[in-house]
Amino acid sequence: MTRHLRVDGPNHDDRLDHMAQGVLGQPLNRLEGPLKVTGRATYAAEARPRNMAYGVLVQAEIPAGKVLEIGDAPGALAVIQDKRMIHYAAQGQAEKAPPSGPERVEYMGQAIALVVAETFEAARHAAQNIAIRYAPETVPVIPESVTPELPPKKQSATGDLDQAMRDAAVTVDQVWHTPSQMSAAMEPHAAIAEWDGGHVTVRAGLQMLSSNRKQMADALGIRESKVRLLAPYVGGGFGSKLGINAEAVAAAIAARELNRPVMVAMTRQQVFDLAHRRSETRQRVRLACDANGVLSGIGHDVLVSNLPGSEFSEPVTQATPFTYQAAHRQIVHAVSRIHRGCAGSVRAPGEAVGVTVFECAMDELAEAAGIDPVELRLRNIPDAEPVTDRPFSSHKLAEALRDGAERFGWSARKPSGQRIEGEWFIGMGMAAAVRVNMLVESRARVTLHQDGRAIVETDMTDIGTGTYTILGQLAAEMLGLPADRVEVRLGDTDFPPAAGSGGSFGAASSGNSVYLACEEIRSQIARTMRCDETDLTLHDGMARAGNVSRPLSELIDGQITAEGHLQPGKTEKTHRQATWGSHWAEVAVNRWTGEVRVRRMMGVFACGRVLNEKTARSQCLGGMSFGIGIALTEAMEHDPRDGHVVSRDLAEYHIPCHADVPELEVHFLPERDAYVGPLQAKGLGELGICGAGAAVLNAIHNACGVRVRQLPATPDKIIAGLD
């Protein structure tokens, strides 16, 4: 039986608060935790089929043009140059494979061949020494060097922003730049492909198996039913594994050709070239307000880039239309077509850099207007979504601001440059956090056995987000079982197709499908108990209705299996859905070296129902740390001559390390959002990054008076601004 729900209306009954088991929301340890801390969890490149060969990708050394000839590779089993090899990774949720054909080069570093050998060492040596002849072409690689496209659907204007700017008591009109950024998950992309007749099984690092399967089938030119994907453990994604990438397709092609299993693992440098980058952005923000700080105008004018023909463009202004009120508004979204590596989703596409820059602009406006930054934001929270007048599904920004200010000790903040400890300027900064929320179609199967064990199966992934654990807790709660009686099986396309991990929609979407499957099982038990499902209480393997109490083993003949099927519905149109929060940072800036140390950082977040307090907190810590990276250290430098990534490993691209991150503090605001399905939970994986960097940058200004608008705020830029 399948229970289906399209989320067309609200769920006000808080059903999960009235279940008896009391396990959902608890800070349980991760189900798969013992495997991870002992090195027993096996990731993409960690199966060992018999007779496996090793492949190493060969990369283009020109920014564009044709591959004329690829030389021999002594010591290799094969040099694969197949017309099905893809140019760059598929975008998230794409149903088709990306463009293919390895003779055509679109950017420097593109995978153009695969060298396969008996050993990894031999394959690497042969790949590094292969001779390639090209017919190079000259192409633009700098966003400002071309006339950008202005996609009509991405422009919007209400009122007269120019007039509002002229009439305003206080204005801000500044331009910020953010560099290309990389997800840099710790597990490099890797795949092991193996054929059995016309069927291929690919074990890979992937976030969204059901669409990945379509992409892979399209890339290989075979039917979807002939592709099985496995991703039981994924060593981080952050967007970089949303779509299939060159290594997985090449491994499948090579395994077919050689008739044996082939493993292809990208090097770290290849990840920087081949995984989607977050586009660099140029952002002009215009703000106009009256003497009381009430906004009259908001302008957000952005330039991003991508390869010619690539649909994705960083949705920088995604939250701008609904975060603050103003009568006069304008959004400009320009896309330069240049030949840097493909741009795509990196954790919180849009808000990660869009909210960060906008919240820096708000800080500048607060300073110009002489109004406290928290107060400025409180004065501009709209009652409904501006322009459309849609109600918010829930709105916790004001509470997050007030709660955060109190907890962080915001009232102790001093004017810029006034708090000095030895050679350190100390400052405090804050920013609002906001991220759009959405649901995506998702299915799951739940089986309840007579002996009181339950099994959850879905092709959902756990990329570190805690999916195994929260789906287990949810099934345990709904079916009245101790959490250790539930087994969760993920990451296999043989299971019902799920939303996948991305866009902060994974937990809520797959969770609702598990909820529905469990609800169907409850209904069947209720029929046996001769009661309404809503009158049924399940607890520790016992079913109760009225004064009748019976063990599940008496009520189930063998097993009950049900599927849940969730679809987003009208509420995503009728209500503006978002998650909200606030970021707080205290930094020290060295007056001689320009070094910035984050001393304290805190986030207050509202994301609907928290499914596991422990794993939810970890998600927020991760996002906030990404924010530290955006503010202070992370930049992909592109060579201005050919666009290639110069800072293409972890020694050159500086993700925050232990010493960069203080003891972060996270608080959740209790919330039940009625418009996001019966689970009443929203996304959390990305909220922590949205605006976090702005709190750090605003704290730098409060410490030493320097505004860095060319991110990241490295010491050279700070020193240049100090007297």
Binding site: K36, T38, T119, G236, S625, V661
Partner: protein, 174 residues
């Protein structure tokens, strides 16, 4: 070439390419995939193992260089049914998310606590002589060779401090 590795208390004879790193010998030849490859260049620490008790990046070590040493990998520190105290604290504090850097973090922390016990100072130490308070700053400094993109850092440091019996009353100013 023929080599012999002494690993987690057992002896393994291997036939490997002379260019094989210790990391690849573990992963490709011995099936010990608990030791992770994050960068292959000594930049991330995911491949950290203990060689004669000291933490080493196994990607920067050729397998043949480790012949006469006692090597301990994450698999040698504990098993799912019998976690080491550090592994248990990582689990309890959620000192990981995706889990890919975790074996390296735990091997590194195991070696790091020995370094503190042996009186080795760090950049964050108040004095060169010790003893060293197991403060957040001290642990974070010493663990900075182990990157975690999920950024479980706050929870990792808490896990290590608890496993080491750190006393919060001796917390240094960060």
């Amino acid at each position: 070439m023929q080599i012999t590795l002494h690993l987690n208390g057992a002896t393994h004879d291997l036939d490997v390419d002379a260019r094989t790193t210790l990391l690849d010998a573990l992963r490709h030849h011995l099936g010990l995939t608990g030791t992770k490859k994050g960068c292959d260049h000594g930049q991330c620490g995911a491949c950290t193992v203990l060689i004669d008790g000291r933490r080493v990046n196994s990607c920067l070590t050729l397998a043949c260089m480790a012949e006469d040493a006692q090597i301990t990998t994450i698999e040698g520190l504990g098993s799912p049914d019998r976690l080491s105290p550090l592994q248990q604290q990582f689990l309890d504090h959620d000192g990981f998310q995706c889990g890919y850097c975790t074996p390296g973090q735990i091997c590194s922390a195991t070696g790091m606590l020995e370094e503190i016990a042996a009186g080795w100072p760090s950049h964050a130490s108040a004095s060169l002589e010790g003893p060293f308070a197991l403060s957040h700053a001290e642990i974070a400094e010493r663990m900075s060779g182990n990157l975690c993109r999920c950024a479980a850092y706050t929870h990792i440091v808490a896990a290590i401090r608890q496993a080491a019996g750190a006393d919060d009353r001796h917390e240094d100013a960060a």
